[in-house]
Symmetry: C2
Subunit: 456 residues, 2 copies
């Protein structure tokens, strides 16, 4: 058995908490929490060994995946991180994953999305394990037993029983409230997007129902070419709704797609006034409110109710409960204005660590840069700005115009315009330094790199 | 005629916009606006010449007063800034001011609070000017013609006419709504706290009705001793409600004490949805809401109404409209926790300029420090932290362990623990530098100063 984790999604419905460069699956919802991706990874380890987990993501999130697995303490094989060259929805992505994973031999594949919240349930793992017989004959989708008539989810109508599952009679799109109630009464299940199948069965089904996709994978030199010309289509539309070899296995567990901040509110423990908030915050006569802000900032609420308050360093969202679907309209407006706050947080994760913009003014910018042990930034130069680095923590191996030297905490270095420079953490501890940029032009695109295939 | 501006108040009802170290009168409510203090100063200049304006404030706000007058472009005589050694409410403060201002000769004094919003009204200036005859006989309080039955204001009941005013029949405390309506019907006026009187009349009245206060000012060596032992009492309780030589001159203008964020909402121009907000913010289906945040942060509101949202770098207030009086309860809780956010903003104004904490972590702190031309910081040392300064703008004259040298933009210096150091702006432009502190203890109280009477 192999597990394929889908970690390439880039939703904006949790903006400003999520950004295109830092989507939902990587967010740590509250301090000391694991991200949804990390929870999915840990769940996968209950099914298979480390080497049998594969992550399907893209270039932008590769280092997020790596860093978050590193943080869990696993020495994960980088070859198991597969990169979609272009986002073409789930069917091409899953086919690509299955194709790579089973290059040597066919196997049973479990596909986990990584952006849903699933109760850590021993029974679910057992159900998956005991579904291998069914998976040898049919594509399995796991169906969650609904506890509420949710209008935001897709439903599955189970038909005739087979082995430990049911044939799928029909997939149903997001219903209205009354229809959702009828669905529940009729024993319909939520479509979780979690699949299991034998790789050959899957490939044959794609061959039969989505031949264009199948054929394009039969012979290619560069996967980039495949993704350039392949059709963008979901596994639901492209395959599951077409085939009759599709079964559903019911699972009874807490599941939430965290599709908006209202779902978000529903999955967390509330206090006696039905508020979700940090201890540091001060709420007076307030209820049914979700407050999330970056420590150490304090939030005070007075006589407020039914609000969602999401405060980040550069954007604050205040939304009436029940309206959080409209976050996408805010994102649309920002997108029209080419506002970078839909793409980046002020603190941005990088392959080599992370950086945070502490202050940005017309002619100066201050950053805190953190480099992981053994990692380095690319060898680069800037035309229009000079930089000054002051080491706050750890040890740095610095290269300036091909001269190499070491700096330790409390030491600093100047980098002039046009000087080639690089920093590397050659110690065992975190390297942290403050970078002060000055110049007439301080945008990130004033950079010439001298390492061609460097992880930026 | 002399003008005495009261600028020593330290309210907390506009927290987190106002802090003890940065009270209401100095806040610029919206960008490119003048502060209430600056508006009061400009109004005073329509009555008297620069040398006849006196500011009554305290040590903590002295440099705010200076900097904000500098910003208006006036070369103001520093001797005209009078410092209360201790806050003892308005009667002792005004007596002190009057006493100093009229040391040489008696004169008419106009007393302006600096924390109220007053429509810039030519007529008001004329009314004050034409009240000098009345001021020679009686204490004048200017009474605002009410336009709404406000419950948060004090009222004055005018009696018999005399010259261009009326004798005061009675002062009335904040009424309930029905009483306020009756007051308006009976021709009562709002108590504005703006006074005018001849200095001798005032002193005689204090002598008669508050002899303790009068006598203590008759002979003293050090004003600090006076304020140590003097009674704390307002001019209303201590004098105006006791004397019969008190008149009211009605004035018809827009006036608001900005006593809370609800008043705040009422004085600003709203948009078509009755919102007050910056252009940068995005409001969807939202109304009757006041949003104030520090640029460039963006605020997005979805389906919200009747909210007051005040976002600062380290604290966010969200308050239902009509409840903003309860801000004081939040401040009480913070005060109990000894939370410094009731005292300071992250950006703190200093006599020599200002500084802003860009990031504070366990063992490092980054500040942006701005020094005005010709100003310098105290000569000092720290026991537990070292500092690194990198000059971003301007020129610095630096002293380290009695060695003096110059630094210009793009240069830096290290200061070790226990090293005496000072920085001075010896150029004509603003000096701006980044200070990086590292060490085991980074609080502001790790400081030994070597200039005794230095403005900190």
């Amino acid at each position: 058995m192999k597990v394929l984790i889908l970690a390439g999604g880039s939703g904006t419905r949790l903006w400003p908490l999520s950004r295109k460069r830092f989507p939902k699956q990587f967010i740590k919802l509250f301090e000391n929490e694991r991200s949804l991706f990390q929870k999915t990874f840990n769940r996968s380890l209950k099914l298979v060994s480390l080497d049998d987990i594969y992550i399907l993501t893209n270039k932008d999130y590769k280092y997020l995946v790596q860093n978050q697995i590193d943080e869990l303490g696993y020495n994960f094989n980088k070859d198991n991180i597969l990169l979609e060259p272009k986002s073409k929805n789930t069917l091409p992505a899953i086919y690509y994953g299955v194709d790579i994973v089973t290059k040597k031999e066919e196997d049973n594949i479990v596909v986990f999305p990584s952006d849903h919240l699933i109760e850590d349930n021993h029974k679910f793992i057992e159900i998956i394990k005991s579904s291998t017989k069914l998976a040898k004959k049919y594509i399995i989708t796991f169906g969650i037993k609904p506890n509420k008539p949710k209008t935001g989810y897709g439903y599955i109508s189970p038909g005739e029983k087979t082995i430990n599952g049911f044939f799928v009679k029909e997939f149903k799109e997001k219903p209205d409230r009354d229809t959702a109630k009828q669905f529940i009464e009729s024993g319909y299940l939520w479509n979780s997007g979690i699949f299991m199948f034998n790789s050959n069965i899957f490939k044959n089904e794609v061959k039969e129902h989505a031949f264009n996709i199948y054929s394009i994978f039969q012979k290619y030199d560069d996967i980039k070419d495949v993704f350039k010309k392949i059709e963008s289509i979901s596994i639901d539309y492209g395959l599951l709704e077409k085939t009759s070899n599709i079964t559903v296995v019911p699972v009874d567990l807490e599941w939430n797609d965290l599709g908006d901040f209202d779902s978000f509110y529903n999955v967390f423990q509330t206090d006696q006034d039905n508020n979700i908030t940090d201890n540091k915050d001060i709420l007076i006569n307030s209820k049914n409110t979700l407050i999330k802000s970056n420590s150490p900032k304090i939030v005070a609420g007075i006589n407020i109710k039914d609000l969602i308050v999401i405060d980040t360093d550069d954007a604050l969202l205040i939304c009436n409960k029940g309206s959080s679907q409209k976050v996408k309209d805010v994102v649309k407006i920002l997108s029209k204005n080419d506002d970078q706050r839909i793409n980046y947080h002020l603190e941005d994760q990088r392959p080599w660590g992370k950086y945070k913009v502490l202050e940005e003014k017309d002619t100066s910018k201050v950053k805190r840069i953190t480099v992981l042990p053994g990692k380095r930034l690319s060898y680069q130069l800037h035309k229009y700005r000079k930089e000054h680095w002051y080491i706050v923590k750890g040890n740095a191996k610095v290269t300036i115009d091909d001269e190499i030297f070491n700096l330790k905490a409390g030491e600093s270095v100047f980098i002039k315009e046009e000087q080639k420079h690089r920093v590397e953490n050659n110690g065992d501890e975190i390297l942290e330094f403050i970078e002060i940029q000055t110049g007439s032009y301080l945008e990130e695109d004033d950079i010439i790199r001298f390492d061609d295939d460097f992880d930026r």
